[in-house]
Amino acid sequence: LSWVAHDMEPYTFQAELKTKVAFLPLMLGSWSPDLFTKWFVYGDSIFGTTLRASNPTQFHRGWPGAGFTHSLAYGVLIGLLIYAFSHSRIWAVSFVIGSWAHVLTDVGDTVGTMLFFPFSTYHVSLGAWAYAGQLGRMTDAAAYFSGLGWVWDGVWVLLAVYFAFRGLLSTRYFRSIIYPTDPFWAWIGRRGVPESAMVVLYRGVFFWGTCRWIAWLIWAHVVHSYPFDLSWGGPHWVMAEHL
């Protein structure tokens, strides 16, 4: 699993593909595989009752479980549904690109993803960083920001920052590329949202992703003293999960 790459990838794709994609479905696609499942992997307390998957890794990435959300077919299926309801090709294509980016990024951890589901339940995995979601949010954060996962996130943060300095987050870019390619912005504009507020919303995930990438790094290595382990499959001080 990745913590920040899923937030930053859409900005890089947006910078490269410009008017061929719409930003909002790109972002929703990038978030969608974890959107309704991640809380159940880590567990959450509702009215004093803790809800958590009995086998978090199996639930998150496996079958039976919600692992089908981390497959190429899932993106295509939801993309087709979006096209059927909205008749917007750009929304459907952008969602598929975002979803595929998520699924391919998660191949990097020790569990991997069922890329070719439903034709195969084989987990494609590079095993570059440890999957530690089964150990809860905090341990997962500590492990992720001590291994190569953090470096991989950093690549996407730096790419997004590079494009930001080339104008990706400017009001002019929003006005000429983001706004015209997606009717969503005109729709919220008609409901009284001014352009300045739309620009802040457009920049929002970039801000959130960059800040939390820095914050978790400080939390893991300054506030706490988790050791860095940038070896393949690390950090090895945590029990990495495999499926």
């Binding site: 937030d7 978030w31 949010r137 905090m138 954060a141 400017s170 300045s196 507020a197 802040v200 919303l201 920049r203 929002g204 995930v205 801000f207 959130w208 960059t210 800040c211 939390r212 820095i214 914050a215 978790w216 400080i218 939390w219 506030v223």
Partner: protein, 93 residues
């Protein structure tokens, strides 16, 4: 208290234009960066809000988990509060 004419004239000419306009009349190289460029001002605002967000996030990690909270924090910090501040200042005048 008596003031000499030359001194009084110097004082009145110093305040004959509002200070911000006087600063804007300076050559660009001598103006403070934040006054020169609205983009630098915006970037500075985002950086300040970012530092505050990171500081709060280190104290209360739930703030770092939630995209909704993160984006709301930014929205309040760089859009709602500056807008409210500008309105208050306008109302004061």
């Amino acid at each position: 208290m008596a003031t000499s004419g030359a001194r009084a004239g110097a004082v009145s000419s110093r305040y004959s234009t509002p200070p911000c306009r006087a600063r804007a009349a300076l050559p660009a190289s001598r103006r403070p960066l934040l006054r020169q460029s609205p983009a630098a001002k915006t970037l500075a605002l985002y950086l300040v809000v970012g530092v505050v967000y990171i500081a709060f996030g280190l104290l209360w990690q739930a703030l770092l988990y939630s995209s909704f909270l993160g984006i709301s924090f930014l929205f309040i910090g760089v859009w709602v509060l500056p807008r409210a501040w500008r309105r208050l200042r306008r109302a004061d005048r």
